[in-house]
């Protein structure tokens, strides 16, 4: 962006520089001023729906959503005041009356994903409002293998539906009904499997409360697992991902936060969900060579490569180079594919080289 439109704004009496087009939240965030948010996701157009980010803007009679309100030269903003404190106290309490809360603390329940509403509610002295028992419909018959929706924990921030639309361009899920009956639905309330859903799981990741969770992941709290950053090896894109392990077993995969790595918080169905093979009993963990007895025997990599190259050279000697063909996997990077064609052309002398993602 060309910085011709730079100016300063005042937040809580401090002066900060800002650019035209930025929101109050963006300027605050950059300068370490905290404004709570729930429906905000930097990848999505602001919805201004959850109302937790309301701030005071000088000259505005009403509180305004920091996530959507654009800054202007010399704008004066307050993110803390008695009015804002009361607003947060009552609003969070109202959310609690519309949310499943846990037995002891009465705080919004956690399902294994962080519940940001719980964290916000822990910052106030809640008003004991009676439950409103909103009649939000679930999708009980949805037999898709990966994604579960719990309407009791949904705050209708619409991050999931906006993500599915604005980032994935899949539009498999939608807000349906209205008022207190509003819920997250599919067309005809069909199973996600029977919709355009690609099971990317991005909706789970963006959900701030854990209303959307991964069906097969155990409900372990974030503190109970260890995370290891790695690169997805299902394809050459190189998405970064965090492996969550518990007792040395992989229990869940998530994406690093939006903006942190090149995949910007996104993963696809394979990267996010296809990790069953890791602990599968049939998984090959070392090279095997079929010996004369017809059985597979463990071997070292050197031995295995030697047997393979001898075999291929035998074919070449008997039938010529073009009797050989090489297919490289879609999981290879471009560099690996380059090496593969080098192997095919330079080492074995054939142009019969293909990459499985090329068709």
């Amino acid at each position: 962006m060309i910085k011709s439109n730079s100016f300063t704004v005042e937040i809580n009496g401090q002066t900060y520089s800002a650019d035209a087009g930025e929101t109050v939240y963006e300027v605050a965030q950059r300068n370490g001023v905290e404004i709570p948010t729930l429906c905000h996701d930097p990848r999505l157009d602001p919805a201004g729906a959850c109302r937790v980010c309301l701030v005071e803007v000088e000259g505005q009679r009403r509180l305004q959503p920091g996530c959507a309100w654009k800054v202007d030269a010399d704008m004066k903003i307050q993110t803390e005041s008695d009015r804002i404190s009361r607003h947060r106290q009552v609003l969070y309490s109202m959310y609690m009356s519309d949310h499943r809360t846990d037995e002891e603390g009465g705080l919004p329940e956690e399902t294994g994903n962080v519940n940001q509403l719980r964290e916000l509610c822990a910052t106030i002295d809640p008003i004991p409002l009676e439950k409103v028992e909103a009649p939000r419909a679930a999708r009980p018959g949805d037999d898709n293998p990966y994604i579960e929706f719990d309407p009791e924990l949904c705050i209708l921030c619409a991050r999931c539906t906006r993500y599915c639309d604005e980032v994935e361009a899949v539009n498999a899920i939608t807000l349906a009904e209205r008022g207190s009956e509003t819920t997250i639905a599919t067309a005809g309330q069909r199973s996600l499997i029977d919709t355009s859903c690609e099971l990317c799981g991005g909706c789970i990741d963006t959900c701030p409360t854990g209303a959307l969770i991964e069906k097969k992941a155990p409900k372990l709290m974030p503190l109970e697992t260890k995370t290891t950053r790695t690169t997805c090896n299902f394809c050459g894109v190189g998405c970064q991902m965090d492996l969550h392990t518990h007792n040395n077993r992989l229990v869940k995969i998530t994406s690093p936060a939006p903006g942190e790595t090149l995949n910007d918080g996104n993963l696809c169905v394979k990267g996010r969900f296809a990790y069953d093979f890791v602990h599968h009993e049939d998984r090959l963990t070392e090279p095997l060579i079929r010996r004369e007895d017809g059985q597979l025997h463990p071997a070292t990599w050197d031995e295995a490569i030697k047997v393979a190259s001898e075999g291929m050279n035998r074919v070449k000697a008997k039938y010529g180079s073009d009797a050989l063909g090489f297919v490289s996997s879609s999981r290879c990077t471009i560099e690996e594919n380059y090496l593969m064609q080098k192997l095919s052309r330079a080492a074995f002398g054939t142009n019969n080289i293909h990459q499985c993602a090329a068709t």
């Binding site: 602001p46 201004g48 729906a49 959850c50 109302r51 309301l54 009403r62 509180l63 959503p65 959507a68 009015r83 009361r86 607003h87 009552v90 609003l91 309490s93 109202m94 959310y95 009356s97 519309d98 008003i127 004991p128 409002l129 009676e130 409103v132 028992e133 909103a134 705050i155 209708l156 539906t161 639309d165 899949v170 539009n171 498999a172 899920i173 939608t174 807000l175 349906a176 009904e177 209205r178 008022g179 207190s180 009956e181 509003t182 639905a185 599919t186 067309a187 005809g188 069909r190 919709t195 355009s196």
Partner: protein, 506 residues
């Protein structure tokens, strides 16, 4: 961002769903095939609107304040007993014919009504509901001659405030649209009349639709719009017939300006201007964040001038007879005003009076009070309740705002002492809970919370359920996105303030 073509296809989905008889898995699939709009989007949009979300034939009985006072519950029970399936629905804008009912084809059925009235013919009145219909479009011709700037100047002189509820000076919006760089502009007429107690736009659509069309044409001409969209509530069957007849004549008179009619599909919130625009664009009627205002980015993200039916209807006379003339018709504020009056009065109806008339003056026009009045609601459910000590207060924008209420759409309802105020509050809260779009938490949760708490109070007579009502009401006003949530606690707050006895331990 959708492509231009995808946007146009999206605009069609609600109408297509209606032709399909409502939202079903199959109808959604067919509309998807025809338009290419994702199935989930069609489903989610259709399920927002009560006229199409549950296919099937049934009678619709209003459960608005006036109709409840007129025994709508009993009527519903009687009809059900006769084997007629009934659905209870929000105010049908037929309060003068309470209890209002629509048959299976959305035709109005009057079960037992009082005599109703409108102001009789008086050529001195700008709207003159009881007067003859003038189809000459001479004011439109005059406005064309005068040119945009002169017309806006007259409008400014007239002091005309938007009659849709907010009372915003009309000329500001015209100038603002005119000042936009974008040349593609729209005029939209808001005929979604749904505020409980309000039925004035209905009478214009039935009696003087031509005046309204002429007003819209003058507006379109002035701001350089080629298309006028009229968004009329889906329950207005007779009104639509009357409007369409008038459009037949208007078409030639105002060419090349085009008139398009779009039907509402059952959602009060679509009376809010940005929700209305969303509905026109084939989306769920959830209000947008403002700014940007419609005058800058409205329908199809283009500058849009939206007016209420009544605002438009005032314009021809203003152009003809001048701003000063119109302004002087008012008592405390500019112009004449259509007041709807229903409830406990002898001749409910729509009366054109000087803006600033008092309740007593209005009820005079309506044949007097029925029984002993204890309260009135001056401007629809959103205005809450006032006690009879305010019977002399000028019913205008400023005085009512100062009294903690509002003129809104001037849907005045009188309640006599046979009504339990707490119950009246409950009826209003049922309305807001049902009609909240559900987008923002203060309104979505708050409307349900308050309705349930008042319900409990009415059932148990114990005040404990109301302990935190004030906090919730405060947050609804502070934190909601749009006007619905901001005022939805008003009926309870105002009744608690003015009728404390109705909220004691029983």
């Amino acid at each position: 961002m959708l492509t231009h073509e995808a946007q146009r296809q999206r605009e069609r989905i609600l109408e297509l769903l209606e032709h399909e008889g409502g939202v079903t898995e199959e109808s959604v699939r067919r509309v998807h095939k025809e338009t290419g709009v994702p199935e989930a989007d069609i489903w989610g949009t259709g399920m927002f609107y009560t006229l199409i979300n549950k296919p099937g034939r049934r009678v619709r009985i209003c459960d608005g304040l006036t109709c409840q006072m007129a025994g709508a519950d009993q009527l519903s029970a009687d009809l059900e007993a006769k084997g007629l399936p009934c659905e209870r629905v929000s105010c049908l804008a037929q309060c003068d014919r309470a209890p209002a009912t629509l048959d299976e084809d959305l035709e109005l059925v009057t079960y037992h009504g009082k005599e109703t009235g409108v102001t009789p013919d008086d050529p001195g009145l700008p709207m003159n509901l009881g007067g003859p219909v003038d189809e000459s479009y001479s004011s439109f011709a005059r406005a064309k001659e005068l040119g945009a700037e002169a017309v806006i100047e007259i409008l400014k002189e007239s002091g005309l405030q938007g009659r849709g509820g907010a009372g915003f000076p009309a000329h500001f919006k015209w100038s603002s649209v005119l000042a936009q760089a974008e040349a593609e502009r729209y005029v939209i007429c808001n005929a979604d009349e749904g505020e409980p107690g309000t039925f004035k736009d209905r009478e214009i659509l039935l009696r003087q639709p031509t005046k309204m069309l002429e007003g819209l044409a003058i507006a379109a001409q002035a701001i350089g719009a080629k298309d006028i969209y009229i968004y009329i509530r889906g329950e207005f069957t007779n009104e639509r017939r009357s409007l369409e007849k008038a459009i037949e004549i208007a078409k030639e008179k105002i060419a090349p300006i085009k008139i398009h009619v779009a039907l509402g599909h059952g959602a009060y919130i679509c009376g809010e201007e940005t929700a209305l625009i969303e509905a026109l664009e084939g989306k769920r009627g959830m209000p947008r964040l403002k700014p940007p205002y419609p005058t800058e980015k409205g329908f199809r993200n283009k500058p849009t001038l939206m007016h209420n039916v009544e605002t438009a209807c005032c314009i021809p006379a203003i152009v003809d007879r001048g701003g000063e003339w119109f302004k002087k018709l008012g008592k405390t504020e500019a112009g004449s005003k259509l007041y709807c009056i229903s409830g406990h009065v002898n001749r409910p109806g729509v009366y054109e009076l000087p803006l600033g008339a008092s309740l007593d003056e209005l009820v005079d026009a309506a044949g007097g009070y029925e029984g002993n009045p204890q309260a009135f609601s001056p401007g629809g459910a959103s205005s809450g309740f006032l006690p009879m000590t305010y019977r002399d207060l000028p019913l205008d924008y400023k005085n009512l705002a100062d009294a903690g209420s509002m003129l809104g759409s001037a849907g005045v309802v009188v309640l006599n002492d046979s009504v339990d105020m707490a119950e009246a509050v409950k009826w209003q809260l049922i309305f807001f809970e049902r009609e909240s779009c559900g987008q923002c938490a203060p309104c979505r949760i708050g409307t349900r919370y308050l309705r349930r708490q008042v319900d409990q109070y009415v059932q148990l007579g114990d005040t404990a359920p109301l302990t935190y009502a004030e906090d919730v009401a405060w947050e609804m006003e502070e934190g909601s996105i749009c006007g619905l949530g901001m005022v939805a606690a008003k009926p309870l707050e105002s009744a608690q303030k003015h009728f404390p006895d109705a909220f004691k331990v029983r």
